[in-house]
Amino acid sequence: MVSDQEVYRGILDLDWRRRPKDSYRILFIYLTLIVSAVVFLLPLLWMVTTSLKTQAEVYVFPPTFFPETFRWQNFPEGWTYESMQWTRWLVNTLTITTAVMVGTLISATLCGYGFARISFPGRDVWFIMVLASIMLPSTVTLIPLFVGFHRAGWLDTFLPLTVPAFFGGGAFNIFLMRQFFKGIPIELEEAALIDGAGRLRILWQIFVPLSGPVIATTSVFTFQAVWNDYFGPLIFLTSQENYTLALGITFFKGLYNTQIPYMMAMSFLMVIPMIIVFFFAQRLMIRGVILSGIKA
């Protein structure tokens, strides 16, 4: 596995040695960087300022950038607007997220350990199948899964969204766990095996306490994926009280007169946890993204 240091060498440690003859070049680089940063950040800023406008203010052309008065009450008003159940949807989203995270961590840890530390016939074939499943378009399994969940009476419950997480927890997470476990010194494990400790106990008492970084990475990625998931809830949930936040936002669109400020306010509320997680776990998230590319 690529170590933190290797990945961050140069990304975080800024080695900048300016020489006078480079100054035009540096000016050019800065100009390009600044223009790009504006292009990338302006939309988000627009989301925030729009969320603080009145409904009348957003339907003006040309639009003003800042609202005349900052309508912070758009947030509580949007939250309780007409028949919307944002509190309920938040609870639903958190319930699903928690269940998926628990399932993912348990099953990815078990599978990662099995692939990393026990050698048995057929192991590599299964591991290749796990990796290959990353490339399978999920469209192919969608219809039979829907039919299966329909037959099982699971539609409009959280089960189709959470139960699969307990069966492997996603190919990428298994891959991460396996890579990490492979790096733990074998001597620790052998000593424990000679002492007669069982595999599960070794996993729990030796591997898990050493695996903070990979557990955190998996958790952050799972949280992000479930929080952002739109397609799963769209297919498997039907009644409004079972909706998640992502589904809830589209409710504003169905109204005869789309409440743009409220819609932006709720969208921004959905972004906030992601921004918080990003700032606390920036290194982990970036490393996860990098690893997802390095395995090729």
Partner: protein, 295 residues
């Protein structure tokens, strides 16, 4: 029980979640879906075997099908290469030795953490023809308003533009690749008198081809399944100009409950993606450079 036997039993016990998961949630459904593609299956009645009829209807009498293929191919064929280039250029910029890179890196990556639904809602509004920010800027600069999603000629192009906002994740992967190129290669190049353009063409690009290759394959697979953009923003319109393959599949399955037809569509998609992926893998011998080969 000898230790080999014990390892086998324990090994399979440990990986049993994913083995069961693959069987129940991947391989089983795949085979079922293949069978369903030869049936008429309106969900509430049992599947009825109709042979190749779904495929024949799909290829010959459903005009929307080819429109959906066309839309999806155009989108994948433009958004994926543009995204690759955009992410690569940003990574090169971020790899320069100037102060404050951390701020710019965060700025470029930020859109990639915004939930897809929130960014679609946001872009739908930014690209609104009558009240959107982008048209406000265009008008201010003396241009005419751009219709974006309001006209069939511009709707799909607007989606491609929108997709470029999320290139941050790909950019981070390139950045890591760039950091991994040994400095000694550049030093050797400079000693031989190479200028910067030559260093870029002969060291940076070849060393980055494995990363580009990976991003290309994954980007293609993701783009072929584009759904949300059309479902949330345009419902496939105007005039089916953003009628993506997976939107059509969704309509067949969940609005018309034609599960057999939808399965046939899913298998055709898998087939096309597989062929394209194999072509890219095949071609990789020509353009992807693996360090190990020269050792």
């Amino acid at each position: 029980m000898n230790s080999r036997m014990r390892n086998t039993v324990q090994g399979y016990l440990f990986i049993s979640p994913v083995v069961l998961g693959l069987l129940i949630f991947t391989i089983g459904p795949m085979l079922t879906s293949f069978y369903m593609s030869f049936t008429k299956f309106p969900l509430l009645r049992a599947p009825e075997w109709i042979g190749l009829r779904n495929y024949i209807v799909m290829f010959t009498s459903d005009r929307n099908f080819w429109q959906a293929c066309k839309v999806t191919l155009i989108y994948a064929g433009t958004s994926v290469p543009l995204g690759l280039i955009g992410a690569f250029v940003l990574a090169i910029l971020l790899n320069q030795r100037v102060k404050g890179i951390a701020f710019f890196r965060t700025s470029f990556y930020m859109p990639a953490i915004v939930p897809a639904i929130a960014s679609l809602i946001l872009w739908g509004w930014l690209m609104n023809r009558d009240y959107g920010l982008i048209n406000a800027i265009l008008v201010r600069l003396g241009f005419a308003k751009f219709p974006f999603f309001a006209e069939p000629e511009t709707a799909l192009a607007s989606m491609v533009m929108m997709s470029l906002w999320g290139v941050g994740a790909g950019m981070i992967i390139y950045l890591a690749g760039l950091q991994g190129i040994p400095e000694s290669l550049y030093e050797a190049g400079k000693l031989d008198g190479a200028n910067e353009l030559q260093l870029f063409r002969n060291i940076t690009v070849p060393m980055m081809t494995p990363t580009i290759f990976f991003n290309l394959v994954m980007g293609m697979i993701a783009a072929s399944q584009t759904f949300m953009n059309a479902f949330v923003l345009t419902s496939g319109g105007p005039l089916k100009s953003t009628y993506f393959y997976n939107l059509m599949l969704y309509e067949r399955a969940f609005n018309w409950t034609q599960m057999g037809m939808a399965s046939a569509m899913a298998w055709f998609l898998l087939f096309v993606v597989l062929v394209l992926t194999l072509l890219v893998f095949r071609s990789s011998a020509l353009w992807v450079f693996y360090e190990a080969e020269v050792k």
